[in-house]
Symmetry: C2
């Protein structure tokens, strides 16, 4: 299946999309899909799916973006360390889409610790 992890290719860690109401959005997605609510507060939530997570973020609080796992994140600038131990940097693609590059080692450590 195309969404299975292939170690020769980089993986997508999460996708963040903007919503108006976090609770309303959780209910909508959880009603239609088999997913787990991994985190939830008034400003954002994290839904775990089989092959990655979807972040539901309120407009203005967090930017919509795609988070890629790569071994070369640090080549693009200083990485910021997040609460969960992952380290990343944000870039904008040529069209202005926000792209998060997560350091591969930090993601492995965060998941296994």
């Amino acid at each position: 299946m195309i969404w299975q992890h292939n170690s020769e290719l980089d993986a997508i860690h999460h996708v963040a999309i903007e919503v108006d109401d976090v609770k309303e959005a959780i209910d909508w997605y959880a009603d239609k899909f088999r997913c787990k609510v991994a985190y939830e507060d008034d400003t954002w939530a994290l839904l775990q799916f089989g092959n990655l997570s979807i972040a539901l973020v309120t407009r203005g609080e967090h930017p919509a973006h795609i988070g890629f796992v790569t071994e070369t994140a640090a080549e693009h600038g200083e990485l910021k360390t997040h609460r969960d131990g992952t380290r990343s940097i944000y870039l904008a693609d040529p069209a202005g889409n926000a792209v998060e590059l997560l350091d591969a080692d930090s993601v492995k450590s965060a998941v296994t610790s």
Copy 2:
């Protein structure tokens, strides 16, 4: 790893984001990430990553969306069959985000045939 396929949870098949210039976008993503260009024309491209695909779509030609694989797609209305054999229906979430529900059986057939 969080992005590995877990059969108890539904999977994300692809994420489509809007770009201004398909060729420019392909070059940008392929320069930063290990991915394969699975399809490319002037209006859109499909980049295969380890756990799902990213579609780069030109504004106005295709809507930005997330494509979920689910066994219950047909419960939401009549499915449309695409050239690759997948069958799906588009919905809008409460915030207006475009969400594609792909029939799980059609995805398995399309990938293995």
